[in-house]
């Protein structure tokens, strides 16, 4: 009964979405405020219905109702409760239900917090949002219905893919989708602005928090995925430039550009058209990501079972929204007034530079990702791997990273480059010191790597010195500095943390890619190996049982300077329901300067095992950097001026907003 309620609620949600799309749009065309006002309650009803639907599916998972095909295929009664819940979205149908739930969530949030949006803008935003929602609801109902029943319910389920029975990967999809889908709000705002023919500071003030919220979640989602790949796959790597990874990275790049360009629209009224275009592109890249992941047209190490027919449906959605939005753009864009003149050396100029590089870099990733499809069409098969991306992407980032600390130090309209450079003396000085130090500590093993580490330090110190300079540190008494630091808008701290996060990420990624050590050896019990100053002794393998798996645990004794410091237990797990699919569990020791990482492989003759050793220096700075970036986004989001639904001051909005 509960499952049927969920199924019914899903269909009802599609009908509500249809109403939410058509009625307000008709009302706006007829200038009928009553019809226009349908949009907001409809958005909330749609959220409620999808919530019921989602909870119903979750109920089926928790109670292990194997008469539901989706539960049968992806769950098992012996699975821990946590993974029964996460199992809801650890499969295609359930994850698409989560996708539409989040779409509806964003729509309802706009409806709720958008009380002081201009009514016509709000109507159009909700109407477009409903159209996006509707297309995915139809996709769900017609190609991927999670509520399909089985006629003869089996006694137990097939179990969940063991790789997905993991904490980080369980919470990875919700974050990722909050990111992907969050960009739909910017998209809807962009299309609505084109329909309205008006883009102003208020519009940008509305778009930015939603984009920021999506961006924060996407950042966390990508970081979680990368962390999972690191500790779960046993390859010691954290990013593989795989199509599925690129699919999430491209919207992130475009979204980052969007955050920065929306700032210019808000503060200076310039770059309006560009920002609209970027909003459309960012969401289109999210849709393309969904297409690439679902259709399986590209070979990916992260691909799960895929279905080309579903891919075509998503391709249709992608073509409809991107094509439609671009057509409206071409039609309406000439009517939008451009404003705000600025010199090339200015805050705006720096933000334009940021946008140019991010978008072009995103383009190189796009070409590399799709290139195999192009060559396949001409008849030969290739794959584009990490070397291509490292060669094209990394050099483009260098000028961006060098310019990054300058941006916030330049004034709007016309900036003083020399003045900004003077304020970065400390950052450059400390960076040079670090370069020399790194070079000597690593005994000159690489020439470029210390320079890149220095670049990271320069970004971190540069971001801090900008805040200190604005607080007049070293130029006035410290009480005054403290007062200024306290009164500084949170958005300034937000961008500081965002930039610091990038710097820390650069340091971590460079250190671990250049100075990591790897060893693959055959070990018998009692054998010893030395790696990066650690002496590791293999003490044999024991078998243990988990709730729904058995595992072979290798015991490794880790010594440093003659002292025992850790016991690592990398394992091979075999899940009862998926015995043909063994799983690697790595053993990781976190030292202050990096990770000692062990994975155990196949059993060889005479009791020996293949063991993979890594020492990854400072690798955790990669995810720490991402977290700090996300934190920066949250701090910025809490800024009073940006707070969603914060009342606008009267003088900014001279025309009174009619009551709803």
């Amino acid at each position: 009964m509960i499952v049927e309620t969920g199924h019914f609620a899903l269909i009802l949600a599609a009908i509500v979405a249809m109403v939410q799309f058509a009625v307000p749009l008709w009302g706006s065309y007829k200038s009928d405020p009553i019809l226009m006002r349908v949009a907001a309650p409809a958005a909330q009803v749609q959220l409620l219905l999808l919530l019921i639907s989602f909870l119903a599916l979750m109920w089926a998972y928790i109670t292990s109702d194997f008469s539901v095909k989706n539960v049968f295929a992806n769950s098992h009664s012996a699975k821990p409760l946590f993974f029964k819940i996460s199992g809801v979205w650890a499969n295609h149908e359930g994850s698409m239900l989560l996708w539409v739930l989040i779409l509806a969530f964003y729509g309802a949030m706009v409806a709720m917090f958008g009380r002081n949006l201009p009514p016509s803008l709000k109507t159009h935003v909700l109407s477009i949002q409903a159209l996006v929602s509707l297309s995915f609801l139809l996709f769900l109902i017609f190609t991927s219905n999670p509520f399909e029943r089985l006629v003869n319910p089996p006694l137990d389920g097939k179990g969940l893919n063991p790789l997905l029975q993991d904490f980080a990967l369980s919470i990875h999809p919700p974050f990722l989708y909050l990111g992907y889908v969050g960009f739909s709000v910017a998209f809807s705002f962009a299309v609505a602005a084109l329909i309205d023919g008006r883009v102003d500071a208020a519009w940008a003030r509305w778009v930015r928090p939603w984009t920021l919220l999506a961006w924060v979640n996407l950042t966390i989602g990508i970081a979680l995925g990368s962390w999972w790949a690191y500790y779960e796959l046993g390859w010691g790597g954290w990013w593989f430039w795989d199509p599925v990874e690129n699919a999430s990275f491209m919207p992130w790049l475009a979204g980052t550009a969007l955050l920065h360009s929306a700032l210019v629209v808000e503060k200076r009224g310039a770059l309006k058209l560009w920002t609209i275009l970027l909003s459309i592109l960012t969401f289109s890249l999210s849709l393309m990501g969904a297409f690439l992941v679902r259709s399986g047209v590209l070979s990916s190490v992260h691909a799960f079972a895929v279905d080309p027919e579903r891919g075509i449906f998503i391709l249709g959605i992608l073509a409809f929204f991107t094509g439609g939005a671009l057509a409206i753009f071409a039609w309406r864009a000439p009517d939008l007034k451009q404003g705000g003149i600025f010199a090339p050396i200015s805050r705006e100029g720096a933000l334009v530079f940021n946008n140019m590089i991010l978008v072009i870099a995103c383009g190189t990733v796009l070409i590399g990702t799709l290139w195999p499809l192009v060559t396949e069409a001409v008849g030969y098969k290739i794959s584009v791997g990490a070397p291509y991306f490292e060669l094209t992407f990394a050099p483009l980032m260098i000028p961006l990273l060098l310019a990054m600390p300058f941006g916030p130090l330049l004034a709007w309209k016309r900036g003083d480059l020399r003045g900004a450079a003077q304020r970065l003396y400390a950052a450059v000085g400390i960076a040079i010191l670090v370069v020399v130090l790194t070079y000597s500590v690593t005994s000159g093993s690489s020439f470029f790597a210390p320079l890149l580490i220095g670049l990271g330090i320069y970004i971190v110190v540069g971001a801090i010195s900008e805040i200190l300079w604005r607080a007049k540190a070293f130029r006035t008494n410290w009480g005054e500095v403290g007062r200024r630091l306290l009164n500084m808008p949170r958005a300034s701290y937000g961008s500081m943390f965002g930039h610091i996060g990038i710097g820390i990420f650069v340091i971590g990624s460079v250190a671990t890619s250049v100075w990591n050590t790897e060893k693959i050896v055959a070990m018998k019990p009692g054998d010893k190996q030395t790696i990066a100053g650690y002496e590791v002794r293999f003490d044999g393998v024991v078998e243990e049982r988990g709730p729904n798996f058995t595992e072979k645990l290798g015991n490794f004794n880790v010594m440093k300077d003659g002292k025992q410091i850790a016991t690592l237990r990398p394992a091979k797990r075999t899940y009862i329901m998926r015995s043909e699919m063994p799983m690697t569990e790595t053993g990781i020791y976190n030292a202050w300067n990096g990770d000692l990482y062990l994975a155990i492989g196949d059993k060889l003759q005479q009791g020996a095992y293949t063991v993979r050793f890594y020492f990854n220096p400072f690798i955790r700075l990669i995810w720490l950097g991402c977290l700090i970036m996300a934190l920066g986004g949250l701090v910025s989001l809490s800024d009073r001026r940006l707070r969603i639904g914060a009342p606008k001051r009267a003088k900014e909005q001279p025309a009174a907003v009619p009551a709803e």
Partner: protein, 154 residues
């Protein structure tokens, strides 16, 4: 600076970045792509020893030999031709006989494919599209995967 000069300054910077990017992309695509061959392709085409490519196919039943060291040898087949592969390291979890895999590496002078990377997937029902289509071309594709796979994606 006049408005026109400002605009052209920005346009030229943009074009500069774009030109650099195009150069990098062309360079990257000319030197860093890898061809994908099936065992049958290897028989048809003359692939020089030492030239890196990706080899895809099924791991032939009964061909996996594990020695005392970390070296493993097996054969990759598309049910028409096969080619010997040697690999040193830890194989992915989903590596097993009969499974579709993709290996990266090059042929040595003896005609053995020396792999430095072997890729299998996260899902036992997943088949890399290259492997699937080369198997289809050889007429040995069994359509057990697409149907059974429904509902296992993420």
């Amino acid at each position: 600076m006049t408005r026109k000069q400002r605009r052209s300054a920005m346009i030229f910077t943009g074009l500069g970045v774009l030109a650099v990017a195009v150069g990098l992309v062309l360079w990257g695509l000319s030197g860093n792509i890898m061809f994908f061959y099936s065992p049958s392709d290897l028989v048809e085409k003359q692939v020089e020893p030492g030239q890196r490519f990706r080899l895809g196919g099924l791991v032939e039943e009964g061909s996996v030999v594990r020695g005392q060291s970390t070296k493993i040898t097996f054969k990759v087949t598309d049910n028409a031709e096969n080619v010997g592969v040697s690999f040193e390291g830890v194989l992915p979890d989903l590596f097993r006989e009969g499974q579709g895999i993709v290996a990266e590496g090059a042929l040595n002078t003896a005609g053995i494919f020396v792999a430095d990377n072997v890729l299998a997937k996260h899902d036992e029902n997943y088949m890399p599209p290259e492997v699937a289509s080369s198997l289809k071309k050889k007429g040995v594709w069994k359509d057990t995967n697409t149907k059974a796979a429904k509902g296992t994606g993420s």
